[in-house]
């Protein structure tokens, strides 16, 4: 599997406190990589490094090398706007804009100047909603407010929004933790579909979810990457004792 994102020696500090210690990891192209570990172990922090979302937090400092298709993204010269055009994100708590469903999806293509006509925009909206398995439910109410949907629908709306600009990578930060089991199942099905066209990195605190959706898994603990291997190996035969303990529920 070709490596899409390659991190080497990444250290992250919140002020004086070090949140991530010397993380090195290879994210493979067009597959799902899961990051697991107990709360506060730094997995979300690492995820946010991949699209430079940690820039939003004043006291956060990121050191080390992160390469996206061999382009160094942890550097001052990087155009963050273009990076985020190619690396999308779905958040833990669904955050559709307080606009219509149509406008939510149209947002990305409009600001990046990807469309020339209304017709193109309509097409993109339809395609994205279809890919997110939401089209049938909302096709008659595209001009209703996005925040009026149910939790699961909102999250799928956010996924549709993320894929509307055709990012190569989609980052998902515990996308199902605010959803009920049925909605969760729908999202997991979606992830399986999406991996055919996008590279996906998903942070999850549910080990069963990681086992279900991912091909590779990384186990984080207290800011360290303890083990990174194929999902099957991590769950059936982990090399590290700590990984074993976490999997079997000894802690976390």
């Amino acid at each position: 599997m070709k490596s899409k994102i390659s991190a080497k020696g990444v250290n992250v500090y919140y002020g004086e406190k070090q949140a991530l210690k010397n993380i090195s990891i290879e994210i493979g192209e067009k597959e799902v990589t899961a990051l697991i570990g107990p709360s506060g172990c730094g997995k979300s922090t690492f995820l946010r490094c991949l699209n430079r979302m940690n820039d939003v937090i004043d006291i956060c400092r990121v050191e080390g090398s992160i390469k996206f298709d061999n382009l160094e993204i942890n550097s001052k010269e990087l155009d963050v706007v273009r990076l985020r055009e190619n690396v999308g994100m779905v958040f833990q708590k669904p955050n559709p804009f307080p606009k219509t469903i149509y406008e939510n999806i149209a947002y990305g293509p409009t600001i990046h100047g990807l469309v020339q006509s209304k017709q193109e925009l309509d097409e993109i909206v339809e395609t994205s909603l279809k890919k997110a398995a939401l089209w049938n439910e909302v096709k008659d109410r595209l001009h209703e407010i996005g925040t009026g949907l149910s939790g699961g629908q909102q999250q799928r709306l956010c996924i549709a929004r993320a894929i509307s600009i055709k990012p190569e990578v989609i980052l998902m930060d515990e996308p199902c933790s605010a959803l009920d089991p049925i909605a969760t199942a729908q999202i997991e099905e979606l992830i399986d579909e999406l991996k055919n066209e996008h590279t996906i990195v998903i942070v999850t605190h549910s080990m069963s979810q990681a086992a279900r959706v991912s091909q590779k898994t990384g186990f984080f603990h207290l800011g360290n990457l303890i083990e990174f291997d194929s999902t099957e190996k991590i769950f059936k035969n982990p090399g590290n004792q700590q990984t074993q303990d976490y999997i079997t529920g000894r802690f976390g």
């Binding site: 939003v56 985020r84 055009e85 958040f91 955050n95 804009f97 606009k99 600001i111």
Partner: protein
């Protein structure tokens, strides 16, 4: 004193049986029982005494005079009685003044005696009760609770007082001047309708045409409009910048400095407008060949706008900061720049709050007095030209009430009619502001 009595008595009882409350509560109990009823009666009496006196004295005059003139009459009687009247007074007024003095001294004496009786009566009553070792802490605390409650009624009473006093005088005004002449008439010239003494009447025609308040309403909104043209862009952008772009250091310094602008008294703004801004505007206008009054609506509006900037800025800062971080991150993650996020996501989300803030700012502008009085003149002028001088509701209230006024006079009553219009106007604006914020908050949460 009664406090110590009670405490001592309680200590005495304690020797015999177990007390139900700390000794000091017995003291409080006694003190409250004797002080409160007496105080209440005393205050009520004092408040309503002037009313009573006025009605009694004027009862003999009621038949022969108009109600408007009665107030003027009463003022004269009072000044004769107090020895401050100038000139020779009518015979019947002097008699009335004597009656007034007698009545006042009688009332003062009886008030004192009554209070004393109540004081002593309650003291003995409560003292007897203590002997039975009743629970005193509960009644004392209950009393305190009622005391606190009545204090909180103060706000309600104040509003009632405002509405009542404004309404009362306004209704008397509208009995002489037709409401529609007031609201829609375009000639405002209260100086013409001046009552010199209690016996002359004013020509009905003159009344009709002197109190057209339309130029005032127009002037008020015109100047408020100019002020908002300054305050909204600057205030909003400042608020946005402080909320989204400013580093903590900039915020630490800039915010208090902008607050200083808010703390400057409006009379100072007015002085600055009259001294500096007015002539400056006139100079610029004249150099462009325009006719500019030295007291222009533009000068007043500009300075009022500057005064309102901190108001708009801090309210919008709060509203924008309150937009959930979630939404911001969603937009950034899509690859939007900061300004795009603000323009397309944050601002629309915060819009109801911002509209509410603007409405409140308009309400503030409408109610502003000193800047207009000092910088925009007192000529009622219905115009859309900011280079001319216009006046507002508030400035006219001041102009009417500075100097001699009598309470029976339509001119004075007109001021109250203006006052109630202002009160209603700002009330409506405030309710609208709250309503807008509430309605959209429901839609968006």
């Amino acid at each position: 004193m009664s406090y110590f009595f009670g405490k001592k008595r309680a200590a005495h009882i304690q020797v015999q049986t177990r007390l139900t409350a700390l000794p000091q509560f017995y003291g409080y109990y006694l003190a409250i029982w004797c002080a409160a009823p007496a105080l209440i009666i005393f205050s009520l009496w004092t408040f309503f005494e002037p009313f009573l006196v006025k009605n009694l004295i004027l009862s003999s005059f009621k038949g022969s005079y108009e109600s408007n003139q009665l107030s003027i009459l009463y003022a004269q009687i009072k000044s004769i009685a107090q020895g401050t009247f100038f000139g020779t007074a009518q015979e019947n007024l002097v008699i009335a003044a004597d009656k007034y003095n007698q009545l006042i001294s009688l009332l003062v004496k009886s008030k004192a005696i009554l209070s004393l009786i109540i004081l002593i009566g309650c003291l003995s009553f409560a003292y007897k009760k203590i002997n039975q070792n009743i629970r005193t802490r509960e009644p004392v605390e209950k009393f305190l609770k009622y005391l606190f409650f009545s204090c909180s009624l103060a706000a309600v009473l104040t509003t009632a007082g405002i509405v009542f006093s404004l309404l009362f005088e306004s209704l008397r005004f509208f009995s002489s001047v037709n409401f529609f002449d007031f609201a829609f008439g375009i000639e405002w010239n209260p100086g013409r309708a001046f009552v010199r003494d209690s016996t002359s009447q004013i020509d009905q025609e003159v009344l009709k045409n002197s109190f057209g308040a339309l130029p005032l309403f127009a002037g008020t909104f015109f100047i408020a409009f100019i002020a908002m043209c300054v305050a909204i862009p600057i205030g909003l952008m400042t608020g946005i910048y402080m909320a989204e772009y400013a580093s903590t250091n900039v915020r630490k310094f800039a915010k208090p400095i902008i607050e200083i602008l808010a703390g400057i008294p409006t009379v100072v703004y007015g002085f600055f407008a009259a001294l500096t801004v007015g002539p400056f505007v006139k100079q610029i206008g004249n150099s462009m060949g325009l006719e500019v009054s030295s007291e222009s609506a533009l000068a007043a509006g500009l300075v009022m706008g500057v005064m309102i900037i901190p108001f708009v800025s801090s309210l919008s800062d709060d509203v924008i900061t309150a937009v959930p971080q979630n939404l911001r991150e969603g937009s950034y993650a899509m690859g939007a720049t900061k300004s795009e996020t603000i323009k397309k996501v944050i601002f629309p989300a915060a819009l109801p709050g911002i509209v509410g803030a603007i409405l409140l700012a308009v309400s503030r502008a409408v109610g502003e007095t000193m800047i207009v009085v000092m910088a925009s003149g007192l000529a009622a002028n219905l115009t859309a030209n900011p280079l001319e001088s216009t006046t507002t509701i508030t400035a006219q209230i001041v102009m009417i009430l500075v100097g001699d006024q009598q309470f029976g006079d339509p001119k004075t009553q007109a001021a109250f009619a203006l006052g109630i219009s202002l009160f209603v106007l700002t009330l409506v604006l405030n309710i609208l502001a709250l309503g807008v914020v509430k309605k959209y908050r429901e839609k968006y949460e």
